[in-house]
């Protein structure tokens, strides 16, 4: 059965309108303050640890009610206030003109306006500030990270980027997969025959999966998250789940970081607590679980001290307080050993797709 997305064409346009209106509102506010001889200011929801709370209802991290004021009255904030005003101005141009930019590009663009960021982390921070002020992810500002992950499978999209408007494309035409970049992120999702999305942590296995025709065998769209999934990838996963109604499953290394990659796709990260629309609350972590290491007799390597420290850290996280998430952390801590996805090649290169994946998919129906 082919699914067709109907509602999306309007939502992209609506979101753009909403963003532009918020930007204009900020502009007017600053303009009037200046004219009246008042010091303009931004109210930024606080992203300090004490203001990040886990919302069980929407199953993700969100910001609490605390907020900070960045005022042009305060000399020590004047510079970063101006940087934020500039970014709003620049984003306004990007969105109006349908142009894209990257985090690095923003850092360099600032120089043309005498806005000197000391380094890219500083400009990255200002971008997060604006996200918080406008409660919108930077992808809506047309600002993308440099790192890109890929997608492959039977999915038809329709571009909205200038020059390609209306052009359609099927994502199974190129065996290397397609970069999840600005054009793909802003494209409308039109049609798919897939019934499942498999997110996989590593590029190597993504290629293997394509070679092994996993997309056909399991009627799946395969997404390479390239480690911790970038936001644009998480956004795509969410849209595949929301708009196309596809369940999402995740395969990551058998260690604490792999477990957390799955968790972030499912319920977001503390870093992006000021944002919504980046989570797939129903996504399922297929493996590799700590219990799988014993069950499938996988070759292992010992955990490092920082691995173990990471387990203790995550044990404090409210999302790891129950069920399988909690159990797997405990087993990892007991084993003090970890296994990579490649560990399955001990039993043959196709072992993971022939044996492990079907078994886990079967198992996943029950959790």
């Amino acid at each position: 059965m082919r699914l067709k997305n109907k509602s999306n064409a309007k939502t992209a346009e609506a979101r753009k309108k909403r963003l532009l209106s918020m930007l204009e509102q900020q502009g007017l506010n600053i303009y009037e303050n200046l004219d009246k001889g008042k010091f303009p200011q931004f109210v930024i929801p606080s992203r300090s640890v004490s203001n990040i709370v886990y919302d069980k209802k929407i199953r993700q991290y969100i910001l609490g009610s605390a907020s900070a004021v960045r005022s042009s009255r305060n000399m020590s904030q004047l510079r970063s206030y101006t940087q934020l005003a500039w970014l709003a101005f620049f984003v306004n141009r990007l969105v109006r003109e349908g142009k894209s930019s990257t985090l690095r590009d923003i850092y360099y663009s600032s120089q043309a306006f005498s806005i000197d960021f000391e380094d890219q982390p500083e400009s990255d921070n200002i971008i997060v500030d604006l996200e918080a002020v406008l409660t919108s992810p930077r992808e809506e500002f047309h600002i993308f990270p440099e790192e890109r992950s890929s997608v492959f499978g039977d999915l038809t999209i329709e571009y909205t980027v200038p020059g390609y408007e209306g052009k359609r494309m099927n994502l199974s035409d190129h065996p290397d997969g397609y970069l999840i970049g600005p054009s793909l992120s802003s494209a409308e999702l039109v049609d798919t025959s897939a019934e499942l999305v498999i997110a996989i942590e590593k590029g190597g296995l993504f290629t293997r999966f394509v070679e092994e025709k996993v997309h056909k065998k399991f009627k799946a769209i395969i997404v390479d998250t390239a480690g911790q999934a970038p936001r644009s990838t998480r956004n795509l996963l969410r849209r595949l789940n929301n708009e196309m109604g596809l369940p999402v499953v995740i395969l990551a290394d058998g260690d604490v970081y792999g477990e957390h990659i799955a968790m972030v796709i499912k319920s977001g990260s503390a870093n992006a607590a000021h944002l919504r629309e980046l989570t797939v609350p129903d996504a399922k972590w297929l493996g590799v679980w700590a219990t799988d290491i014993e069950k499938y007799k996988l070759p292992t390597i010992p955990m490092t001290e920082s691995d173990i420290k990471r387990i203790y850290d995550l044990q404090k996280d409210p999302r790891y307080q129950e069920g399988n998430w909690k159990k797997q952390l405990e087993v990892f801590l007991k084993l003090k050993r970890k296994a990579e996805l490649e560990a399955f090649s001990k039993y043959g290169l196709t072992n993971i797709t022939d044996k492990y994946l079907p078994a886990k998919l079967e198992e996943s129906k029950s959790f």
């Binding site: 502009g27 600053i30 303009y31 042009s72 009255r73 000399m75 004047l78 005003a85 101005f89 005498s114």
Partner: protein
């Protein structure tokens, strides 16, 4: 059994054997010490005669190709008074011949160091010293000589005389040195000496031919020090004993020479009876000299006339038993005569033998002790004020010395023997050397430790040409830079104990502290004379001086800080507000920019928020 041989060694030999003590331990240190000794001698000589010093120092390698340590020719030339040609061989060719004895501030002590340098040069290179001197502005004497170490005697190799035009002295020695290692210290020494001697012009030509010239900054010489009497706190039993011996008046031997003197003073033409002599002496008692008065007094008891007298020597005058014993050379016989305590001559004799009363001794022989203080002291020390010091027993002397140390009502030592540089020359020197954004100097009032007067002068300079490499301390004592052993010095201790953050000084500030201690005796920690010990009195003065200057600096810093901040604010708001306006205009979809001038003005004026 071996027999021990005792033999006397000459002072030259003593110094030769102990040259490490005098700073001639190795070629590096020796070159540096030699430079110091000659330069300081030259400056002292000019100071003494109130001549604005012009000093030329040059160090040349005998063979520049050779590696260090090697032979160098060290020459120091000044425009001082020069030295009388007849004194030159002794002054430069013997150890312990000098003119700098006495209680006043001077750079060097006794002028020994220069001879040590000459000695060191001779030991290491076997080359003579050359001294050129012109003391009258007309003739220039040139001596080339060696030192006979065993005999402590100069050996003149050459002496020539020619026409001279200006007074001055030039000394040139050849010595083994290591300029590659000593160079930076010598350059520092010349630099710092110029800083603390702003009335001097100093030129230094180094072995590579590079010239360092420090021009005269001020034309006025500081007031010269005077020689003064000791302070009661500054002496010990041995010093008192020596002072008493000085006061002690010996009854002169009565011989023909003395008789002639008496006759002359009393205008005696012919022989008259002893009675008449006494009568005549009575009439003009206050006009006749002390020896004559004493002899007359003795004669009054002996009752012999001049005719029957050949030569007599007074052997003992026992005040307790009131007898006088004398030896008559003519009779070769000893006589004892009883003294009548009621006689007016008795008092004269008693006071002659027993010295001054304690009261007189205190007021006459010490600085700044008046009769009132002296009486108070006697009460404190439980001595009778009219106690004759000549009659004091050893125990009493110890008690006296002890009491002199403990009595706290003596006035502070007289600082007139000190020669501080003065606030104005110090300040001018600092301004010229560092061209600072801020500078302050302070001369503390004179103070004393253990009876030695001292004065602390200090300067502080901030910013300007001073590199921001952190605090730099220039230490001086009696106008000599102290370059070695910085770590254990009292000045460094005080500076390091200061909480600079309290004075708004942070990080590696462009900050210089110049400290000058003047004293008749600098309490050096070691014989090397490079670091000053932490005497509490000295520490207190240094601390007060530094705190005073640091507070002045803090005032400057906060003024500067406020001004900087205001300027910074103004700059920031002028830069950023127009940008914000530009961005807001486009964001808001307006054509015309808002009127933001008011905001720039307000931004520049807001007080810093706490």
């Amino acid at each position: 059994m071996s027999k021990e041989v005792f033999s006397q060694i000459s002072p030259s030999e003593f110094f030769y054997r102990n040259r490490d003590l005098a700073g001639f331990s190795n070629p590096t240190r020796s070159l540096y010490t030699s430079v110091r000794e000659f330069v300081e001698n030259a400056l002292d000589a000019c100071d003494h005669k109130k001549i604005l010093p012009d000093i030329h120092l040059s160090i040349k390698a005998v063979d520049p190709e050779q590696a260090d340590p090697k032979h160098y020719i060290l020459t120091v030339k000044d425009n001082g008074p020069g030295i009388d040609p007849e004194h030159i061989p002794l002054a430069f060719g013997t150890v312990l011949y000098g003119s700098k004895f006495g209680l006043k501030q001077a750079r060097g002590m006794f002028g020994l160091g220069a001879t040590m340098a000459i000695l060191y040069g001779q030991i290491t290179t076997n080359k003579p010293v050359t001294v050129k001197s012109c003391s009258d502005g007309k003739t220039l004497d040139e001596f080339v000589m060696l030192l006979d170490i065993q005999k402590n005697k100069p050996v003149i190799q050459k002496h020539t005389t020619k026409e001279g035009s200006k007074t001055g002295l030039a000394v040139s020695i050849v010595l083994e040195g290591d300029y590659s290692k000593a160079g930076s210290k010598i350059r520092d020494y010349v630099y710092q000496t110029s800083l603390i001697t702003p009335y001097a012009s100093i030129t230094f030509e180094d072995p590579s031919g590079e010239k360092f010239h420090y021009a005269r900054i001020v034309k006025d010489m500081p007031r010269p020090p005077t020689v003064i009497k000791p302070h009661p706190h500054g002496i010990d039993v041995e010093t008192i004993r020596r002072m008493i011996t000085d006061t002690h008046y010996q009854i002169p031997t009565i011989d023909n020479k003395m008789i002639d003197k008496i006759k002359k003073e009393l205008s005696l033409k012919k022989n008259i009876s002893p009675k008449e002599i006494l009568e005549r002496a009575q009439k003009r008692w206050s006009d006749i000299s002390r020896p004559v008065r004493t002899v007359i007094s003795v004669m009054s008891f002996l009752n012999i006339d001049f005719e029957g007298l050949k030569k007599i020597r007074i052997d003992d005058l026992d005040v307790a038993n009131k007898t006088i014993t004398y030896w008559d050379f003519g009779e070769s016989q000893s006589h004892a005569v009883e003294l009548n305590p009621d006689s007016p001559y008795y008092k004269q004799l008693a006071s002659t033998v027993q010295g001054d009363t304690l009261l007189t001794f205190l007021t006459k022989r010490f600085q700044r002790v008046g009769p009132t203080t002296a009486e108070k002291f006697c009460e404190f020390a439980k001595f009778k004020p009219d106690k004759r010091i000549g009659s004091m027993t050893n125990e009493e002397l110890v008690k006296l010395a002890d009491a002199l140390q403990k009595f706290e009502e003596f006035l502070a030592p007289d600082p007139s023997c000190l020669a501080p540089l003065g606030e104005e020359p110090l300040s001018k020197g600092i301004m010229k050397f560092f061209n600072p954004e801020f500078a302050a100097v302070w001369q503390r009032n004179a103070s004393a430790y253990s009876g030695f007067p001292f004065i602390v002068e200090m300067g502080i300079a901030y910013g300007g040409d001073i590199p921001p490499n952190g605090l730099k301390v220039y230490r001086f004592a009696n106008r000599i830079p102290l370059l070695y052993d910085e770590g254990s010095d009292v000045v460094l201790k005080i500076v390091n104990e200061t909480e600079w953050a309290r004075y708004k000084i942070k990080g590696d500030p462009p900050l210089v502290v110049v400290s000058h201690i003047c004293s008749t005796r600098i309490p050096y920690k070691t014989v090397g004379k490079e670091n000053v010990a932490d005497r509490p009195e000295l520490e207190r003065e240094l601390k007060n001086a530094l705190q005073y200057l640091a507070r002045k600096l803090a005032v400057h810093m906060s003024r500067q800080g406020a001004a900087d901040m205001a300027k910074k604010r103004a700059n920031l708001y002028s830069k950023y507000v127009p940008l914000i306006a530009q961005f807001a205009t486009e964001l808001a979809g307006k054509k015309k920019e808002p009127n933001y001038n008011q905001l720039i003005r307000m931004g520049s004026e807001i007080e810093e928020q706490v």
